[in-house]
Symmetry: C2
Subunit: 356 residues, 2 copies
């Protein structure tokens, strides 16, 4: 039997743990894994593109545990009432090859993306950053806002989205959270939102080379947390921003980011830093208050590895409903697979047990 | 909600459908997909190797449906009472990127491997083949035996395994099947089993360059169904067999087989035929009764694609227990992922419904 964490269980875990604490603990797990960067077998994700979207497989392993995530990206889905991005993943034991845990990762991906954004911003944003512009107010927006408010000290978010209803939704959800220290400002344009911001987070979904941020909006000292551009042909920053002499660009895993990140617009010699080096202190995330820093985030398999291991841990720690699925045969004689057809049935779906 | 086919449901489907009919229908699906070979996006599988085994991801897509299989290969697992190979897979909708079905594929992989072996043998073995040697009597053996007996007309299987208990188990299982037209002979060595055989199936599990079949055992007209050698460093045939002037070698997907198949022992110019061409009639699977034919089978993602689609179909057709898992969020507003945290819980695991 394989442990199963569905959407309901992640919601339960979030309710019991608290969203901010969940993101904080997850950020710590991700940081710990980035600090042992060389222990991981890394590869760019395997992508299958169609005219309307992409389906990707993202494997990672540290030689002890193996994980992969399945994730799609279909910007047109929202027109049909479906999510742009859904995901699930598996954690497995390298020694036996057996899967240990199957988990939803749609909610979890939003949480780990916010956690990784904060990890980068802690090293890259100017100390004392208080105002964040949030361009793109869709599925990622609340998670980014909570993470930057609770973990980085952002006191004002300035919202803009071409879809007014997305901003309505975000305002409504933030109001419900009762965050007295957070000012939420609605802006009439990207330019209005960005003006005066210390940090600019872009989390838009169009699968094309969009130009969400143009050079004249960017001023010295800003940190750009570019979350939305994450596959070939899908970018958010005008390339002249990346050509500024005072720019510093940090990526997760360079071979993947050259294909999928904002830096797909640049030639192969364009200088970037990997996040692992910044987190390890081998290179600064920001060299001066005047630099423009860009976290060109596409999402890397290591973050999902950390997230699955974290879920596995708190799934054991937190009370509630634990399920298993019969994804694997249980055999008396492992060479007698056929004998399974004659044996008594296994339980179909593991009993839900209320843990002590 | 995503349809879920666990081990129990596959066993139920096999019981209702019958094993031979299941393999026959699955072979027809696989053949139909190989006949539209150019419709598929194909890639070698993604392999993560460790000192004790390998974990692989095998994606395939025809532009309408997408599938992947997770599969491990850990020969030492049997010493710990675990299976050498376990697998599961997902079928997804390319248009939305949403997964449709999660299924066990451990049992199913054995069935689709046997189905593919028979498809190849129908074109490659001599007409009137009646005797098959079966070297390696582990988890694959019963499925290969049933497939070649019921679908190809094999009347005698000649068994050999270095592990006597594996042969005991196979004999016992075959006896229970009451196949009056099948003679089962136990042999004292590979040489004894192979002598006089029309077809030689090798399905051994050691992860190393073994030499299960040596040149002097092979006589003109034999068909070798080489199932066990399927990853780098894991082969079963002496390379001199592949160097015979009268040999014809068929593989599933040449770029993958060059890495994983018996032909990993040969240089890049070594001539092989792809199964799709043979099934389409573009090239003969056998040119004369004297040729030695080799189906150098490693297992290709297309076969799992066919298997998942077949499972999806019969899962709908056959009565019994149908389950779903809450792997995907269901949202009123697809941009309001966060709103899920405030909404009422979904059902945890879908109700089992006895279909009409």
């Amino acid at each position: 039997m394989v442990d199963f964490i569905g959407v309901s269980r992640v919601r339960e875990l979030l309710a019991r743990r608290g969203t901010a604490r969940f993101i904080e603990e997850l950020a710590a797990e991700i940081e710990a894994d980035f600090l042992r960067w060389d222990s991981f077998e890394k590869s760019p994700r395997h992508a299958t593109h169609s005219s309307v979207g992409v389906i990707e497989l993202m494997p990672a392993s540290d030689g002890r545990l193996y994980s992969f995530k399945y994730v799609n990206g279909h910007p047109k889905n929202t027109q049909e009432g479906l999510l742009t991005v859904t995901a699930f993943g598996v954690l497995a034991d390298v020694h036996t090859g057996y899967p240990l845990l199957l988990s939803e990762l749609t909610l979890t991906t939003a949480l780990r993306t916010a956690a990784t954004s904060v990890l980068a911003a802690r090293r890259m944003a100017r100390a004392g950053s208080r105002v964040m512009a949030l361009i793109g107010n869709g599925a990622q927006a609340e998670f980014q806002t909570i993470a930057f408010h609770e973990l980085l000290g952002i006191r004002e978010v300035r919202l803009y989205d071409t879809d007014r209803r997305a901003t309505d939704k975000l305002e409504r959800n933030l109001a419900r959270l009762h965050l007295p220290q957070l000012k939420v400002s609605r802006c009439a344009s990207t330019a209005a939102a960005v003006a005066g911001a210390d940090i600019v987070t872009t989390a838009t979904a169009d699968k094309r080379n969009a130009t969400i941020l143009t050079p004249e909006l960017i001023v010295a000292g800003m940190h750009l947390n570019a979350v939305g551009g994450d596959c070939p042909g899908k970018t958010e920053l005008h390339r002249d921003i990346l050509l500024r002499p005072d720019v510093r660009v940090v990526v997760e895993y360079e071979p993947q980011s050259r294909i999928e990140g904002e830096i797909q617009q640049m030639d192969a010699g364009y200088a970037v830093l990997e996040l692992a080096r910044v987190l390890a202190g081998d290179a600064p995330g920001r060299a001066s208050d005047a630099e423009v820093t860009v976290f060109d985030s596409v999402g890397f398999a290591l973050e999902d590895f950390s997230a699955l291991r974290y879920l596995q841990r708190i799934h054991q720690e937190e009370r509630g409903t634990r399920s298993q699925i019969d994804l694997l045969p249980q055999l008396h004689d492992p060479k007698d697979l056929f004998g399974l057809l004659a044996a008594k049935p296994q339980r179909l779906i593991g009993a839900n047990d209320e843990a002590a």
